[in-house]
């Protein structure tokens, strides 16, 4: 009985690979956000990362760089999306302190489950719940600024909807995410701190317009806690995305990340390339 189930599962997985995911409309799989989840650029969305339908699976990889005045964030990530239901992700952060010297590395493991709906076809928005486990490796600076922990888990609930032809005939996409977090600057400066070490609810939002099947533009906003008392600011970006095919997407954004570890006015270019491997 066990063996039959196992073989059954393997066959199901295999058949999924055999017909790799391209069963969604182009552009509707979204992008990969900084922490590895399917989403916009800085906000996780309810959409899963790949073009898989409920009979398919897909795997994606991405590389993102954010060049700020005093820092540079490099992100390498990958995720799999299973039957348009579950998404598993991993992202590696290397945060260069270009002015001070040094680097902070962190790994983020994420999981997301679609609870309801289809971003295009359901009457109500698609809803997903997710979590992100963050493991900070270079802990010295986090300790220095007074962070309480070097690992942490974020929990989020996201709602995303595409309204076909809603803006003068162009498709409108919006996302709203509520996140429970203790993370300081994604976790790069640890979790919790002298001012607060409890979970706080942060709101994150994205809004975009698809100007064709291949071009989108919009903006995002991400509320942040200030556990360390260093004046951590909310993040925002405006982006343009080019999606030549279901296999690859390019995003260019202007990001305003405010004050990071006491260095104020951190702004710069965000560049991301993502692709579906199968």
């Amino acid at each position: 009985m066990r063996l039959t189930t196992l073989i059954g599962s393997v066959l199901i997985v295999y058949s999924g690979i055999a017909c790799a995911g391209d069963g969604k409309l182009i552009g509707t799989a979204g992008l990969n956000q900084l922490e590895g989840a399917g989403g916009g650029g800085i906000v996780p969305w309810a959409t899963l990362s790949g073009y898989d339908s409920q009979d398919q699976i897909s795997a994606n990889a991405f590389i993102t760089q954010v060049n700020l005045d005093d820092y540079r964030l490099n992100v390498l990530g990958a995720n799999v999306s299973l039957y348009d239901r579950v998404e598993l992700s991993v992202a590696r952060h290397a945060f260069d302190l270009t002015t001070l010297g040094g680097e902070i590395a962190q790994t983020v493991y994420g999981a997301k489950v679609r609870l309801y709906g289809d971003v295009i076809y359901s009457d109500w928005p698609q809803i997903s719940a997710g979590m992100q486990y963050k493991d900070l490796e270079d802990t010295a600076i986090a300790g220095l600024v007074g962070a309480k922990d070097t690992t942490g888990i974020d929990y989020f609930l996201a709602a995303t909807k595409v309204h076909l032809g809603a803006v003068g005939g162009y498709n409108l996409v919006w996302n709203l995410t509520g996140r429970l977090t203790k993370a300081n600057q994604l976790g790069l400066l640890g979790f919790g701190g002298p001012d607060n070490s409890d979970y706080e609810l942060m709101l994150e939002g994205s809004i975009g317009v698809l100007f064709s099947r291949h071009f989108a533009a919009g903006m995002e906003y991400r509320q942040k806690p200030d556990n360390l008392g260093l004046g951590e600011d909310d993040w925002m970006d405006v982006f343009v995305t080019y999606i030549p095919s279901k296999n690859v997407n390019f995003t260019l954004a202007w990001a305003d990340l405010g004050s990071i570890a006491g260095a104020t006015g951190q702004k710069g270019l965000y560049l991301s390339v993502g692709g579906q491997l199968w």
Partner: protein, 139 residues
């Protein structure tokens, strides 16, 4: 900043509201001639797609062309009445998967592209067709 986001959203919503005009989508598309062109292109797309073609193995193509054109005319608020079978009757027993459904939507978009339908009108037409999806999938 949140205020800025809300204002942008409100502005976009207003913009969407202003864009509506008194003419029907049927007229904007270019009437029955353009709808017939889309349907003919769509049939052509299906003919050359090995995944979707088998679903049409037992289909009377002439009847399909006539009824689908009628249906699109109704969706676009044109002067037509749909005289075909229900979506459930037509697609029952086919067990159409979500992937194949979405692929067919891609083919329909190709058909509209080849008929030079502007992107905003494509979106408007599709938005009036989406409610039929649940009458077609996995039956």
């Amino acid at each position: 900043m949140v205020k800025q986001l809300v204002m942008t959203a409100a502005a976009i919503a207003l913009l969407g509201g202003c864009a509506s005009s008194s003419s029907t989508l049927y007229e904007e598309l270019g009437g029955q001639a353009k709808i017939n062109e889309i349907v003919e292109n769509f049939v052509h797309e299906i003919e050359y797609n090995n995944t979707i073609l088998p679903y049409f193995a037992d289909t009377d193509i002439d009847r399909f062309i006539q009824k689908f054109a009628e249906q699109l005319c109704v969706f676009a608020e044109g002067p037509c009445t749909y005289s075909g079978d229900t979506m459930e009757q037509v697609h029952g027993g086919m067990n159409i998967s979500e992937a194949d459904f979405n692929l067919t939507v891609d083919l329909f978009i190709n058909a509209m592209n080849k008929a030079n339908i502007p992107h905003p009108l494509q979106n408007k037409l599709i938005s009036r067709m989406t409610h039929t999806r649940k009458q077609m999938l996995y039956l």
